[in-house]
C-alpha cells in the first residue's frame, strides 16, 4: 500500500489526506488542501477507506478515530 507501510505507519501523502479530512470534506476540497495530484488523492482515499482510516458519508470523507490515533502518534514522534 502506498499510503501505509508494512509496519502500519502512514506515509506523508496519507497524512496530508487525513489532515484534510479532519472535518468532513468532499474530494475536490481534499485535493485543493493536499496539493497532491487528483489521481493520487482519489486512489489514496480509496486505500485509506479500506484500511479503516477514513469513512465516507454521502460525498464527504472524514477521518475515523483510528486515523486520529495514527496522526497523534505521528505528531508525538
Amino acid at each position: 500500500m502506498a499510503c501505509i507501510d508494512k509496519d502500519g505507519n502512514i506515509t506523508r501523502s496519507a497524512e496530508l489526506m487525513l489532515l484534510a479530512a479532519i472535518e468532513p470534506n468532499d474530494v475536490d476540497t481534499i485535493i485543493k488542501e493536499c496539493g497532491l495530484a487528483p489521481f493520487r488523492v482519489r486512489s489514496g482515499l480509496r486505500e485509506l477507506e479500506k484500511a479503516g482510516l477514513i469513512q465516507m458519508k454521502g460525498n464527504f470523507y472524514q477521518v475515523t478515530p483510528l486515523a486520529i490515533e495514527k496522526l497523534e502518534g505521528k505528531q508525538g514522534h
Binding site: 500500500m1 502506498a2 495530484a37 487528483p38 489521481f39 493520487r40 482519489r42
Partner: protein, 222 residues
C-alpha cells in the same frame, strides 16, 4: 476475439480512437490505481518493453524532463510494462542514482499482461513477452483520442506527444483542426464548409483562404 461488422474485421478487445478507454485496477509504483482516478485530467498512458533497458531508460528520462509541460496541459503520465513492482521500484531508483532524474509519474505492474492485452499493447509479430512502445492519449472523460505505436527498437519523440495533446485540446476548445507540423501559436485550419451557402459566406469572414475548402485563421493567445 475477431468479429466482422459491415465487412470490416475488428478485434473487439483492442480499443480504437473514439472508444471509452478500458478501465483497470492495477498495482503501481504509486500504489493501486484505477483508470477512473484520472478523470478530469488528460492522460498519456504508455507502455515500454522492459525495465532496465537502454531505449526505455532514455524515454523515461525524457518523459520526466518534460513532466511539467504535460502538467501545464492538465495532463498526467502513466507507464506500464510486464515487470514486477520490485523491478519498477529498482529501475526508477537506478535512473535517479545514475542519471539524476526522479521519475514523477506512476508505472503500472502488469505481470499477467491483463491491462496490456485489454489495450492491445502486445504486438506478437515483434514480441510475445514484451509490450511495444504504445501511447494512448485519453481525454478527461475517459475517451481515447489518439494512439501511437512504435516498435521495440525505436524510441518515441516526447515533444511530438506534447504537441499532440496540445493540438487535441486546441481542436476541442476552438472547433478547428491543425495542419501538418502545427506548433502552438501557429495558424489553424477552419473546418471545410458543408454547403454552398457556407462556402460563399466564409469568403467574407476574414479567414486566410487559398480556396473555399482551404482556410486558416489565427487564434487568440492560447
Amino acid at each position: 476475439m475477431e468479429e466482422t461488422t459491415n465487412n470490416v474485421k475488428t478485434f473487439s478487445q483492442i480499443p480504437r480512437i473514439g472508444d471509452q478507454a478500458p478501465n483497470f485496477e492495477a498495482e503501481s509504483t504509486f500504489g493501486p490505481l484505477q483508470l477512473q482516478d484520472f478523470r478530469g485530467s488528460w492522460l498519456v498512458f504508455f507502455s515500454h518493453p522492459a525495465d532496465f533497458t537502454p531505449v526505455c531508460t532514455t524515454e523515461f528520462i525524457e518523459f520526466a524532463n518534460n513532466y511539467e509541460k504535460f502538467r501545464k496541459l492538465n495532463c498526467e503520465l502513466l507507464g506500464l510494462s510486464i515487470d514486477s513492482i520490485f523491478s519498477h521500484i529498482s529501475w526508477v531508483r537506478n535512473i535517479e542514482e545514475k542519471f539524476g532524474i526522479r521519475i514523477p509519474f506512476p508505472v503500472i505492474v502488469d505481470l499477467d499482461a491483463s491491462v496490456a492485452n485489454r489495450y492491445g499493447m502486445i504486438m506478437p509479430g515483434d514480441s510475445t513477452t514484451e509490450t511495444s512502445r504504445c501511447v494512448f492519449v485519453i481525454d478527461p472523460d475517459g475517451k481515447i483520442r489518439a494512439m501511437i505505436y512504435y516498435p521495440l527498437t525505436t524510441g518515441r519523440n516526447i515533444d511530438e506527444i506534447i504537441r499532440l495533446v496540445h493540438a487535441l485540446q486546441i481542436t476541442d476548445r476552438h472547433k478547428v483542426a491543425t495542419p501538418a507540423n502545427w506548433r502552438p501559436g501557429e495558424k489553424v485550419i477552419v473546418p471545410p464548409p458543408r454547403s454552398q451557402e457556407a462556402a460563399q459566406e466564409r469568403l467574407n469572414q476574414g479567414y486566410e483562404c487559398v480556396d473555399w475548402y482551404f482556410c486558416k485563421k489565427s487564434l487568440e493567445k492560447d
